[in-house]
């Protein structure tokens, strides 16, 4: 079977061959524990870990000592939110986030609610972009923490992090940003951005799965209650033997992202525009979320008069994500698209295309053909589409 064209880079990316090459020696001949201070096996591993830490810091405008390695963005989000909430519980118990955040943030907030914290989940307009006034109005005297993602995983919209961060600073509220979908896709400068905590993932930027980082600001210093206890690794923030090969992979992925972003972004933007150009010639196609304030890698569209499950079942030659979560009994529409005000049928008939480093014009053209084929076939099968065509033909006739 021929593999379908991969347009699901927001789910995960392949490891860049250069990243893999950088990782391999650390699995075999250079296998030392970076915490071993008594011999050269440990020393060389520690040096590699620190070099990677520097690369991650450089990508986001941080200092190396502000980077804490974790198992990925989900753990980073857990450590940031629980760690900060537990640290600040004496000062207040209110947390502000957004209803379109990733489950790793929303479910962590739910757990904090269970522990006695209060959580406000802000709505978003159809653009998907949090309005700073709405955000500021949600902050209360007992608000200790706010969490807003930089780039939405489903619709790719970019939140105005510097503005929201400034609001948090004014109110003395700690600000966490989930940047799992953002690193390497837009310039991030934590030397300027008023952000206290930021979650990073490797496998969304051509690094390996199972490694990520949490940025923890030093000035002003952010304190967290550790969620993983053990040998006191990572300055006590996160115990556990450091996986040198994984960390080296994250570091190399970060270095490549920093060096190649400037060339990669316009290339991917051109491909995304080509994709949209090809799809927008179909009738009743709607972009979900703001088209301008969006990373160039993402296009999320809904198709009118096409049922979601049939659409996904029909699309055999492209690998994409849909706006539905298949449960045992039925298709559940995406909560993100629902928050934008999309009806259930339109939320269910959405496709998230996410482009990446290996995407070519041929991939895009094949995807356009495939989507057109399936959408047109399903519409031709639909009695509702037929009725609508007849009505519009009738209306044209009257004019």
């Amino acid at each position: 079977m021929q593999h379908p064209v991969y347009l699901d880079y927001a789910s995960t990316t392949p490891v860049d061959p250069r990243v893999r090459d950088a990782m391999l020696p650390w699995l075999t001949e250079k296998f030392g524990n970076p915490a071993s201070t008594t011999h050269s096996y440990g020393w060389e591993a520690e040096e590699a870990v620190e070099a990677a830490r520097e690369q991650v810091a450089l990508l986001v405008g941080a200092e190396a000592r502000e980077i804490v390695f974790t198992s990925g963005a989900t753990e980073s989000n857990n450590l940031a939110l629980k760690g900060a909430a537990h640290q600040l519980a004496q000062r207040g118990r209110h947390i502000v986030t957004v209803c379109t955040e990733h489950k790793a943030v929303l479910d962590t907030c739910r757990e904090l609610e269970r522990q006695g914290f209060a959580v406000t989940r802000l709505p978003v307009p159809a653009s998907g972009i949090v309005e700073p006034d709405t955000f500021a109005a949600a902050l209360r005297p007992d608000t200790i923490l706010a969490s807003v993602m930089a780039v939405n995983n489903e619709i790719g919209v970019v939140q105005d992090i510097p503005t929201l961060g400034a609001v948090c600073r004014q109110h003395g509220v700690l600000f966490h940003v989930d940047a799992a979908q953002a690193t390497g896709k837009l310039p991030i400068d934590l030397a300027v951005w008023p952000v206290d905590l930021m979650s990073i993932s490797a496998h969304k930027m051509y690094g390996p799965k199972g490694i990520g980082a949490l940025y923890v600001r030093r000035k002003p210093r952010v304190r967290l209650v550790a969620q993983m206890h053990g040998g006191g690794h990572e300055k006590g923030f996160r115990s556990g033997t450091l996986p040198t090969h994984q960390i080296v992979g994250l570091g190399e992925a970060a270095r490549l992202a920093r060096l190649e972003m400037r060339d990669e972004l316009p290339r991917i933007q051109a491909l995304r525009d080509r994709l949209w150009q090809g799809l927008s010639t179909l009738e009743q196609v709607w972009v979900n979320g703001d088209m301008q304030q969006r990373v160039p890698h993402n296009l999320n569209v809904s198709f009118g008069h096409v049922e979601g499950e049939a659409l996904m079942a029909g699309l055999r030659n492209i690998a994409v994500s849909s706006g539905s979560a298949c449960t045992s009994a039925s298709q559940e529409p995406s909560y993100v698209l629902r928050a934008l005000g999309r009806s259930d049928p339109l939320a269910l008939s959405s496709i998230r295309f996410s482009l990446g480093r290996m995407t070519t014009e041929q991939h895009i053209d094949a995807a356009v053909l495939e989507v057109r084929r399936v959408v047109e076939r399903l519409r031709n099968l639909s009695p509702l589409w037929e009725d609508e065509l007849q009505e519009s033909a009738h209306a044209d006739g009257v004019q």
């Binding site: 049922e307 499950e309 298949c326 449960t327 009994a329 298709q331 259930d344 099968l381 639909s382 509702l384």
Partner: protein, 131 residues
């Protein structure tokens, strides 16, 4: 969870039989509609009955998941050439069995049954046959 489709279901979904429409204004044509856009599935099933009371032609159109499209397609094939009372006795069970529906897909077979009953009722009403 990944949706699992049987071979028979996929075959009818990929190459549906009996897609089309009959002139609903004709007295020998019965039309049945079932389902709603909001709930994710609409099936229109039409039958044309000859003077001997046999279904001479059947066709469908569907908006919905693969299971509903397959059910509509299978039904048009199954009722063609059958006597009206025979077709009227049909339930969702043979549809679900033939297409190897999973329990989560069963309600689409029921929707297909509703559409078929609706088409037969519509035909009988036109003919002045008491239902």
């Amino acid at each position: 969870m990944r949706m699992v489709y049987s071979k028979a279901l996929l075959d009818h979904f990929e190459s549906p039989r009996g897609v089309g429409r009959l002139d609903a204004s004709l007295p020998q044509v019965g039309t049945g509609n079932a389902g709603a856009y909001e709930t994710g599935g609409v099936l229109r099933l039409q039958i044309q009955v000859d003077q001997a009371g046999t279904i001479a032609a059947a066709c469908f159109k569907a908006y919905g998941p693969p299971a509903l499209i397959a059910a509509g397609s299978w039904l048009t094939q199954h009722v063609q050439g059958r006597r009206l009372d025979e077709a009227g006795a049909l339930t969702h069970q043979p549809v679900a069995q033939a297409l190897e529906f999973a329990p989560a897909q069963l309600h689409w077979a029921m929707l297909a049954e509703d559409a078929l009953r609706g088409a037969i009722r519509n035909y009988k009403e036109k003919q002045g046959i008491h239902v």
